[in-house]
């Protein structure tokens, strides 16, 4: 009995871990040639294809049989053949094997991308996010706090997030990222702003009256513009020269970029 269990567990682990392990080694800490949102779209298309095929096969089978096997007269009974023992096992194990194979295939793909989603690149710009009913506050350090997330194009961004009151969830649909933001814990997410533009971010954990009224803009700007923006905000935050830390003005983006993950 024990042997059967260990065989089953060993098999499960090997099946799911094998392909995933092989690919987890691949992305280096600073390789974001695949940014998470692009990986997401690719995986989504794969999964969509997968479920569409299953859906079409089973859907048409049902449709066909529902029409084809209508009783043609009263008193007629169905002619389902009686299954032999071997057939009964076959009709149980074969589909189970197919479903399991699909499950492990999808698990492996999902695990690979998950590793990309959770492994923050070393050069990521770090911003703290504090959520409260009903607004977001982005804290870049050095006194720079805003209600819009401004990020430089081409540099990964990691948000370290916590909440002051209830649970919120920070969601940027364009970058396919979301993670709950809650009191007493710090959670994180990262994304790769490749294209210039302004995107919307919203709250997706029910947090009361203003839940659907706490959007924030996410602005992806050229690095130079970001530095100017950061510098001017820092001055506004600390007008007294004594209070301003003597950071290198040429590389303001580097200042908040330390990334402990």
């Amino acid at each position: 009995m024990k042997r059967i269990y260990s065989a089953i567990w060993g098999g499960l682990l090997a099946l799911s871990a094998g392909p995933a392990m092989a690919s987890t080694a691949a992305p280096a800490r600073n390789d974001y040639s695949v940014s998470p949102n692009e990986g997401w779209d690719t995986l989504w298309n794969t999964v969509l294809l997968d479920i569409t095929v299953i859906g079409v096969v089973f859907g048409f089978a049902a449709l066909y049989m529902l029409f084809k096997y209508k009783a043609s007269g009263p008193g007629q009974i169905g002619k389902l053949p009686k299954l032999s023992r071997a057939q009964a096992w076959g009709f149980a194990l074969l589909p189970a094997a197919v479903f399991m194979a699909d499950d492990f295939y999808l698990s492996a793909k999902g695990w690979t991308l998950w590793n990309i989603y959770r492994r923050v690149p070393e050069n990521a710009l770090e911003v703290k996010l504090v959520a409260r009913q009903w607004q977001w506050e982005f804290d870049y350090g050095q006194g720079v706090k805003t209600d819009t997330l401004v990020v430089p194009q081409g540099q990964p961004v990691v948000l370290r997030m916590t909440a002051e009151d209830v649970i919120h969830s920070y969601f940027i649909p364009h970058f396919r990222v979301k993670e709950d933001v809650m009191p007493g814990r710090v959670t994180y997410l990262w994304f790769m702003p490749k294209d210039l533009g302004t995107y919307v971010s919203v709250c997706t954990e029910f947090c009361g009256t203003g839940h659907s009224n706490m959007p924030a803009d996410v602005k992806v700007v050229p690095p130079g513009e970001f530095q100017a923006w950061f510098a001017s905000n820092r001055q506004a935050a600390a007008p007294a020269p004594a209070a301003a830390p003597a950071a290198d003005p040429a590389a303001p983006a580097a200042a908040p970029a330390a990334n402990p993950s």
């Binding site: 859906g55 009974i77 169905g78 009964a88 009151d165 990222v177």
Partner: protein
């Protein structure tokens, strides 16, 4: 007067079942009205119908809580289990009839408490999930949520004990486990799940009550509590609750499809020992898929992705068996069979859209969007609800001695069936583009033109509402004035409730004690038409 007394003090499982049916349809109607208001509100961004955002939230809370706790669970494990199981296994009643009538009145008390939502000050607004800290810090009356869960949960626990004992000990002499009809098997599984997991939910909401009103800190991180503890406990129950809904619904479909197709259940043993038992075993190992973006440890999120995807194996056994039951069948269509036919496609849609939602990394985009909303409505709101509706039509002659009106029933079916597709398909599309759940106001997405989709969805909801109203009118009218059925077995089934009991089934169910032989099967149609 004596009639009222007879019903209030009844211990007859059939009457208890009908009392469950009346209560759950009442909950369905009021919660459905709320759904219509919510949908109308979402027609355009911003508030047009209800006065404040808080009112909207209260309606949303009521809709979700009442649909699940007041309609689906009592409809499937209250009404259907009560009415069908003892008849189907050849028993004269349940094991503990008085406990049974106590359960149904607990359930009614829960429904009444839930309805009080609309009249008390500081109405509860915690959504059906009741997550703290919001549910603790809100001005809303979370206690009403907690006590509703307590009452209905307690009714569920008592019913579980009652039916588990009934199925084990009160089967007709000679009926082996391999002869147990599918609805009884599936619901047996559902009751085992309920017995294990409902106490966890009861504990979770009790801690909520203590946190809010007594000042404990179970969920308060500033005093050493844990915000996520509640979600873990809640979903540790509420994912298995999905099977408490799914299993009886599947069970009823087997009965309808086999009877109307005059075919035995395909690969019965695989469906029972692989499907039902498999689901009972995996039910408790997948709850984290509701917390994929809640900051749980990464390894746990990945581990439960694998277990969640593996649910497809036991569900697959049941699906193959249900599909196989159609093979070379001789189907006669009635209203029940129409609902059953629709369920084939609904279970596919709901089940397959669950696959991306099982994948941790995909939910990083999908969770809490209207994609999820459409997915769970296809599984619960439509698939399971259609199974209940089909079952009401199927067992209608057994309940009332009359048949439901066919024309009205078919019209209502098509309105329902088309309505739900129109309602929920657009929500998949905008969900993929980021439309969040539980939003009345979606101005921030102005560029994406979501309003168009919300318009279509609202029209669909109106169709469904008309269909549902016609359906309920049909039931009430036909129960009183429908055509009387002449024989006890209008569908030509070989189930004991049809071959051995009258229509309507009288007190004590069977004129004579029922015994079955080793060759007996509820799905043996060889005597049909002879």
């Amino acid at each position: 007067m004596s009639l009222i007394k007879e019903w209030v003090f009844t211990t007859d499982h059939k009457r208890v079942g009908i009392l469950y049916l009346i209560g759950s349809i009442a909950a369905f109607a009021v919660a459905g009205l709320m759904a219509l208001i919510i949908r109308a509100e979402q027609y355009n961004s911003g508030l047009q119908i209800v006065d404040t955002q808080d009112t909207y939230n209260v309606f949303l809370y009521f809709h979700g809580a009442a649909m699940i706790l007041g309609f689906l669970i009592p409809g499937l494990t209250g009404f259907m289990a009560n009415f069908i199981i003892p008849l189907q296994i050849g028993a004269r009643d349940v094991a503990f009839p008085r406990l049974n009538s106590f359960s149904v009145w607990l359930f009614w008390a829960g429904i009444i408490l839930a309805l009080l939502t609309f009249v008390i000050p500081d109405k509860p607004d915690v959504m059906w999930t009741g997550y703290p800290p919001y549910s603790v810090t809100t001005a809303g009356n979370t206690a009403f949520y907690v006590f509703t869960v307590h009452l209905i949960g307690f009714a569920s626990i008592l019913a579980s004990i009652n039916f588990i004992v009934t199925i084990i000990y009160m089967r007709a002499p000679g009926m082996g486990w391999n002869q147990l009809p599918m609805f009884s098997w599936c619901t047996f599984g559902a009751f085992i799940i309920q017995l294990i997991f409902v106490p966890v939910l009861a504990a979770a909401v009790t801690m909520l009550l203590l946190d809010k009103y007594v000042g404990t800190n179970f969920f308060n991180p500033t005093n050493g509590g844990d915000v996520l503890l509640y979600q873990n406990l809640f979903w540790f129950y509420s994912h298995p609750a999905v099977y408490v809904i799914f299993l009886p619904a599947m069970g009823a479909l087997y009965e309808i499809v086999s009877t109307m197709g005059k075919n035995p259940v395909f690969n019965y043993k695989a469906a029972v020992y692989g499907g039902v038992c498999g689901i009972v075993i995996v039910a408790g190992e997948v709850w984290v898929h509701h917390l994929y973006v809640a900051g749980m440890p990464d390894w746990l999120r990945i581990g439960q992705m694998v277990t969640t995807l593996l649910i497809s194996v036991p569900v697959g056994f049941m699906v193959i068996s249900l599909w196989g039951t159609l093979y070379r069948a001789a189907i006669t269509y009635n209203i029940a069979m129409l609902y059953a036919a629709a369920c084939f496609f609904l279970v596919l849609l709901g089940g397959l859209t669950g696959i991306p939602l099982a994948m941790t990394v995909l939910t990083v985009n999908l969770s809490e969007t209207s994609f999820v909303h459409a997915h769970f409505h296809f599984v619960m709101a439509i698939f399971a609800a259609f199974a209940v509706f089909g079952s009401v039509y199927f067992w209608f002659p057994k309940m009332t001695g009359r048949s439901a009106d066919t024309k009205l029933g078919v019209l209502a079916f098509w309105l329902n069936n088309i309505g739900v597709q129109v309602t929920f398909w657009p929500l998949f599309i905008i969900g993929l583009q980021g439309m969040p759940r539980r939003y009345a106001d979606y101005d921030m997405f102005a560029g994406l033109n979501f309003e168009k989709y919300h318009h279509i969805s609202t029209y669909g909801a109106i169709l469904t509402a008309v269909g549902a109203a016609l359906m309920i009118i049909n039931w009430i009218w036909s129960a009183a004035f429908g055509e009387k059925v002449k024989n006890g077995n209008p569908w030509g089934s070989n189930g004991l409730e049809w071959t051995h009991a009258a229509c309507p089934a009288g007190p004590g169910n069977f004129p004579e004690d029922v015994t079955v032989g080793p060759e007996w099967s509820a799905y043996d149609y060889s005597k049909f038409g002879k």
